[in-house]
């Protein structure tokens, strides 16, 4: 039997607008599902970045407030939840769903209905979670029913993502083209596999804990399992690193692939690069799964007083991913000695990998107890670095693969400019938070701002809070502007952009072996593969025969 649905993708969307909408809603074409994820995630990113900017400006002066103080915790929750699970992770998943089956040489994604169902479940949960917070629910919400709704909606969204990730992993493991063994996967597909397996193991933990918090919230006598403390203590691990760093793993895969493409070289040593990418994930999954109990004790921090037994877990959790990320970049970067021409995917890919490396370094720093960064906005800065890496990666990846979805290229110069602007914005948003963290500006996922408390006391500290928070707010505004302009550029190029060839980037992997845009079932014929760079092999052979 087969679970590949080769006919479902050919949904007829010609005719009325209603038929077109119905075509999108009922589609099981992985390219459409991926684009749905990307589109909604970009919208969520815009909304979350606006909230982030508002919160940053709110923190400029702790003595005055222009936001409702009672809703600050909810806004914080929406900002963290929105940036991570409504924007960043869905962006990564969307790009992966749209591209990975093409890179595999497959006609479709495995379990296409599961992938589509996952998207709609995620979207339903996402909308419900936002509605719940807007209706005075969510963390620290005043309406108990909507607090419960938020918890359930969040769990539902995560289950949706879980379903789509299962579909992705199964595709990579079972639908590869003939001859494509695991070592012949593209670095991006490999990194998606690592990230997806980690997320498939980690997300259910979060769902289970949300379920406990939901049940406990119905019985306020169980204080240790309900309320904000429970959310921060038991669910908060899903919103902080190292769990969040899991979602940056595809950034390194894209980086390795794009450098190989623009330098027209093979990734060498290929096996080592794949292993180093895997290292980022393998060491993180242990923490992701065990976070509720372990991360708060032995794995939590390293200080001069710690015994060797505490140092070893710290090194395992923080040094291994750092080593993996560093080695990936160190192994791939020398190829740039050939000085390839700058383009949005290339520049974005390199910048995103460097930001992801920064995020892992910052995560490791934060857990050094003697640095006294715990409980400061340093943690928020690290979170924003993670988001920044994913946003820059997403803009670069969308520009790179847009021809396979629309048949048209995204204009090179504006795309490059906007990718760099998004990079600058994310850095401006994150770096001041890191500096303010060293200056002891208090932070926290859910600051304990209670109704009736005068002033935004948790934001107040002795350093130049106005400067850092202004810079961070401007950074968020830059992100909003760049993403908004990028979306406009995408929409415009999809209808009026220059027609792209089948292989506009002179690529090495299988997605460039089909037409632009790719047909409903991806390939006219199934290709046999004899190396990790089948198109480079073909081009090299053609060059030799021409000579």
């Amino acid at each position: 039997m087969t679970a590949i649905d080769t006919t479902a993708a050919s949904t007829d969307t010609s005719g009325s607008a209603l038929a077109s909408v119905a075509g999108w809603i009922t589609s099981t074409d992985h390219k459409r599902i991926g684009r749905l994820y990307i589109g909604t995630a970009l919208l969520a990113l815009l909304a979350s970045a606006v909230i982030a900017a508002l919160l940053a400006f709110e923190r400029i002066d702790s003595a005055t407030t222009f936001l409702n103080i009672g809703s600050l915790t909810q806004l914080f929750a929406l900002y963290r939840w929105g940036l991570l699970y409504l924007a960043a992770l869905p962006l990564v998943v969307g790009v992966a769903v749209a591209v990975v089956p093409l890179q595999l040489g497959a006609r479709s994604i495995a379990f296409p209905r599961l992938a589509a169902g996952g998207f709609w479940t995620w979207l339903f949960g996402a909308v419900a979670s936002v509605v719940a917070i807007a209706a005075n629910g969510g963390p620290n919400g005043g309406n108990a029913r909507f607090v419960d709704l938020f918890t359930l909606a969040a769990a539902l969204s995560l289950l949706g993502l879980f379903g789509t990730l299962i579909s992705l992993v199964t595709s990579i493991l079972t639908t590869r083209a003939p001859g494509m063994n695991m070592r012949r996967l593209s670095a991006f597909t490999w990194s998606v596999l690592v990230m997806s397996i980690c997320a498939v193991l980690a997300l259910p933990v979060l769902v289970g804990l949300l379920l406990i918090v939901y049940v406990a919230h119905k019985y306020p006598s169980v204080s240790e399992l309900s309320g904000n403390r429970a959310l921060e203590e038991w669910v908060g691990f899903g919103f902080t690193h190292p769990t969040t760093i899991l979602f940056t793993i595809p950034v390194f895969g894209f980086f390795a692939d794009i450098v190989a493409t623009v330098t027209k070289r093979r990734t060498r040593p290929r096996g080592t690069v794949l292993a180093t990418i895997g290292l980022v994930g393998v060491s993180l999954v242990a923490v992701g799964v065990q976070s509720p109990v372990v991360i708060r004790s032995a794995f939590r921090s390293l200080s001069s007083n710690n015994k060797i037994a505490d140092v070893v877990p710290y090194l395992f959790v923080h040094a291994l991913p750092l080593l993996g990320a560093f080695l990936t970049i160190a192994l791939v970067l020398p190829a740039l000695a050939s000085k390839p021409k700058p383009s949005a995917p290339f520049v974005g890919g390199v910048l995103a990998a460097l930001v992801a490396l920064d995020a892992i370094i910052a995560s490791a720093l934060q857990h050094i107890g003697d640095a006294a960064l715990s409980g400061t906005v340093f943690e928020e800065g690290t979170f924003l670095l993670v988001i920044g890496a994913i946003v820059v990666f997403a803009l670069a990846a969308i520009t790179y693969w847009a021809p396979k979805f629309t048949g048209r290229s995204v204009p090179a110069l504006p795309a490059l400019g906007l990718t760099v602007l998004a990079f600058l914005g994310t850095q401006l948003a994150a770096l001041p938070m890191l500096i303010a963290g060293f200056a002891d500006q208090p932070g926290g996922v859910f600051p304990s701002v209670e109704p009736g408390v005068d002033g935004v006391v948790k934001f107040s500290y002795s350093g130049p809070e106005g400067l850092w928070n202004t810079l961070s707010g401007v950074g968020h505004v830059l992100v909003v502007v760049s993403v908004l302009a990028f979306v406009a550029l995408l929409v415009r190029s999809a209808s009026k952009g220059a027609t792209a060839g089948d292989d506009p980037w002179d690529g090495q992997t299988l997605e460039w072996a089909t037409t632009s845009p790719a047909p409903a079932d991806n390939f006219a014929a199934i290709h046999a593969v004899t190396s990790a760079e089948p198109l480079l092999d073909l081009k090299s052979a053609n060059t030799r025969s021409d000579a």
Binding site: I197, L211, A513, P534
Partner: protein, 193 residues
């Protein structure tokens, strides 16, 4: 378009089995995370001043819990029997085995309901109650999913899709994983309490 060498479309590579394995791994971490929290709160409660974890007057019935665990042994055996029979195109035995798995699954749910009824543990009783009901509730939900899986597999098989041996194998894998997860829960919640 590049003229890469073509090949016949490859045979599907155990998609249902791989998907089930991933879902089962997810189910294991779902329960595992909850169990971790249970162990942590139990440790804290026992180290506290009153040293009480299970509410006063509540007895955790071990015998029905043991029966639950023991019942999973034939579930695994019958699941494998279904795989064995399906491989030999033995439709009557495969159908019988799948039916027995579904029946035992229903019995499992019934026994869990019996434990709830026997314990008479109010949810309002505190942390232990919330964690107990969440853990056993999730386990029961997974058992219901398993029964649905068994019934669906049996109907597909009876309906003539006897070549779908992979589904029967995936069904067995699900129940193996379920048994493993329940064994963890049984040890933590019912034995060490």
């Amino acid at each position: 378009m590049h003229a890469l060498p073509t090949a016949p479309a490859p045979e599907p590579r155990r998609q249902i089995l791989v998907g089930t394995a991933l879902a089962s791994a997810g189910a294991a971490t779902l329960v595992g995370g909850m169990l971790a929290l249970y162990v942590k709160f139990r440790h804290e409660a026992l180290a506290s001043a009153d040293g009480r974890w299970i509410p006063k007057g509540i007895t955790v019935p071990l015998v029905p819990a043991n029966v639950l665990l023991i019942a999973l042994l034939p579930v695994c055996l019958f699941s494998q029997w279904a795989v064995y029979s399906a491989k030999r195109n033995d439709k009557p035995h495969a159908s019988l085995a799948l039916g027995l798995v579904a029946l035992l699954g229903v019995a499992f749910i019934n026994a869990q309901a019996f434990i709830w009824a026997t314990m008479k543990l109010p949810v309002l009783e505190g942390t232990y109650s919330v964690l107990f009901y969440c853990l056993t509730g999730v386990m029961t939900a997974l058992a219901i999913l398993g029964v649905v899986f068994s019934v669906t597999t049996a109907f597909r098989y009876l309906g003539g899709r006897t070549a779908d041996r992979e589904v029967v194998a995936a069904h067995a894998l699900y129940w193996y994983a379920f048994s493993f997860v329940f064994a963890m829960l049984w040890f933590v919640v019912y034995v060490t309490k």
